[in-house]
């Protein structure tokens, strides 16, 4: 299930695995500089006059989706617990901010703090329930909680019921552009750093074999919950800002079912368990969906479905994972081939 043999011949001549491998090493060695450069490039468009309008919104939403996909990946990709209910964090963050700004008349920054607290409390309770489950059960339980929260939101007065919340007097678009960018950069830095620490190793260990991790002395519940809260934190921040960005929040928008799938698809297509993958996936898929929606109205969701199927069947490792596998295809034999006396059992995938 790695690279497609038909295209790899061409690829091989343009970009041999060796060179790509060196490129990966280079990126790995200069991760901090890359994130810094990304932040600078992201901050530039408004400086050069892009302050509002269509492109501004598109870019803001790209950052937003990258946050959502990367947050999903902390638990789904790094820790191996694929959630189908991450939009619950988004919605709770959004509603908490909206209620604080509109009904309690607090300022935007303070409301965001309130939203973060609300999301973390929710994530802790939610995590207590779902993180005991594995596989199918975990996936569907998270979806069930998302839908239950959506129904509850519809029926409460404080959330404005099905009518939702309208938010006037919101900050201008540029504030949200920089807010989403800043959250994304911070999140990338945090995830990148964590992948190099013992904490990050433990998350990966839980993904690969939770039983073994426990047998090695790790209280996996503790680490899973920490990852879960971290994902909730960033998703909730994004949701909190989005309500104001959009000036309107109802249960349909706040717990958007299509986004819930899109953010998973973005992480998958970019490459789960990596820092760059979900971000690349978010930028790429969002651009494609934008294009399809303007050129072939009504077909964007057909495309999304087909794209998911094709990715899962042909490139389950996503862009980054597939390229990395390609770059590393020879290294096992080169580095340790002589030690591999019984290597007929080489497992190529988990």
């Amino acid at each position: 299930m790695s690279t497609d043999p038909d295209t790899s011949g061409l690829l091989r001549s343009i970009l041999p695995p060796k060179r790509l491998d060196r490129l990966f090493d280079l990126c790995g060695a200069h991760g901090w500089k890359l994130i810094g450069a990304g932040a600078v490039v992201g901050a530039l468009p408004p400086v050069f006059g892009l302050r509002e309008g269509y492109m501004m919104t598109v870019l803001s939403e790209m950052f937003l989706f990258a946050i959502l996909a990367l947050s999903w990946d902390i638990v789904g990709g790094q820790t191996g617990y694929p959630s189908f209910g991450n939009m619950a964090f988004f919605g709770i963050g959004g509603y908490a901010t909206a209620i604080l700004v509109k009904d309690a008349a607090v300022s935007f920054p303070i409301a965001m703090v309130g939203a973060v607290v609300a999301v973390l409390v929710f994530a802790a309770i939610n995590g207590l329930i779902v993180l005991r489950l594995r596989g199918h059960y975990f996936a569907i339980a998270t979806l069930g909680i998302l839908l239950a929260i959506q129904q509850v939101t519809r029926n409460l007065d404080i959330t404005g019921g099905a009518s939702g919340k309208i938010l006037f007097d919101v900050p201008p678009g540029i504030v949200f552009y920089y807010f989403f960018l800043a959250v994304l950069v911070v999140e990338m830095a945090v995830v990148y750093y964590l992948t190099q620490t013992r904490f990050g190793f433990i998350l990966n260990a839980i993904r690969d074999d939770e039983g073994k991790a426990t047998a090695m002395g790790f209280n996996t519940t503790y680490y899973k919950t920490a990852a879960w809260m971290l994902a909730a934190l960033f998703t909730g921040l994004a949701g909190g800002a989005y309500g104001l960005f959009n000036t309107f929040l109802d249960p349909q928008t706040a717990y958007n079912g299509a986004w819930n799938v899109e953010l998973i698809a973005m992480a998958l297509m970019g490459g789960t368990g990596t820092v760059a993958g979900p971000v690349i996936g978010a930028f790429g898929l969002h651009t494609i969906i934008e294009y399809v929606e303007s050129s072939f109205v009504g077909w964007q969701l057909v495309l999304l479905g087909v794209a998911i199927i094709v990715t899962v069947i042909r490139f389950p490792k996503g862009v980054v994972g597939t390229l990395r596998a390609y770059a590393n295809e020879m290294d096992y034999y080169e580095r340790g081939g002589m030690a591999a006396t019984d290597d007929e059992e080489v497992t190529t995938d988990e």
Binding site: D209, A215, M216, Y332, A340, V346, T347, T348
Partner: protein, 263 residues
């Protein structure tokens, strides 16, 4: 006590101080089936102890009761003098119990080096340790260990790409990294070729001799276990039917009967 003809002979030979592991009357039932019935074992510091018995004798179940993977219905487990019977699995492991699995379990999605770094106990569970990047001395130690098991070139390879035998060596190196007070090994000789088996025996011996590692292992390969073990326990139908040195076990009528299938 058990209805076996054996009486506890080791209690006399060992002082209480050097007992690493002691189980007393461990019993585990699955539905109507008693998988382990009132089993007592003791492992002393620096010993290599074997656990043998026919398929379905309850060897792995006993291991699982010791590690806390399963909770025993009756009986107590003591590790380094501390009663760990009701502790969760991770806490028992943290108290100094290491375990290698029959099917070999390492973290296939991570590099070989990360597998080893993970096993190091220095990092601990405190926030500071969790959020620090591994320091140079730790990196050096992983390099040494990989060189030691002859897998130095594979440090940055994804562990899942390694052969079964190599994975077994990595799992062993992880335990050397962790330096547990007691290492449980479930069929270390299973599924690897003769050359590698030789190497493995060497490594285990060396660890035992030089690092004074204490090892409790399940094994089907009789040559292997007779060669390496100081003492052996024999289980059949969930009960301990014999204990003694390899020579004593080889000549024990109960053991021979059990392996031949006589009730």
């Amino acid at each position: 006590m058990s209805n076996t003809p054996e009486t506890d002979d080791h209690a006399a030979t060992a002082t209480a101080d050097d007992t690493v592991l002691r189980t007393e009357g461990i019993t585990k039932r699955f539905g109507g089936l008693t998988a382990v019935n009132e089993v007592d074992v003791e492992v002393h510091e620096g010993e290599i102890v074997g656990l043998i018995g026919p398929n379905g004798a309850g060897k792995s179940t006993l291991f699982n009761c010791i590690t806390g993977t399963l909770t025993a219905d009756e009986g107590r487990v003591t590790l380094q003098g501390e009663d760990v019977t009701d502790w969760p699995e991770y806490k028992i492991a943290r108290a100094g119990l290491g375990r290698m699995f029959q099917e070999t379990r390492i973290f296939g999605g991570m590099s070989v080096r990360k597998n080893l770094l993970l096993a190091a106990q220095e990092g601990g569970a405190d926030i500071g340790g969790l959020l620090r990047r591994p320091d140079d001395s730790l990196m050096e130690r992983t390099n040494e260990l990989l060189e030691y098991v002859d897998l130095g070139g594979l440090a940055d390879t994804r562990a899942g790409r390694l052969s079964f035998g190599q994975q077994k060596l990595i799992e062993f190196a992880m335990e050397l990294m962790a330096e547990p007070d007691l290492l449980l090994m479930d069929e270390p000789a299973g599924g690897i070729n003769p050359t590698m088996l030789e190497n493995l025996i060497d490594y285990i011996r060396t660890a035992n001799d030089e690092e004074e590692a204490t090892i409790f292992l399940i094994e089907h390969n009789m040559d292997f276990v007779m060669e390496i073990a100081d003492r052996i326990y024999v289980l059949a139908h969930g009960e301990r039917i014999a204990t003694g040195t390899p020579d004593e076990i080889q000549n024990n009528q109960h053991v021979i009967d059990a392996y031949l299938g006589r009730e």
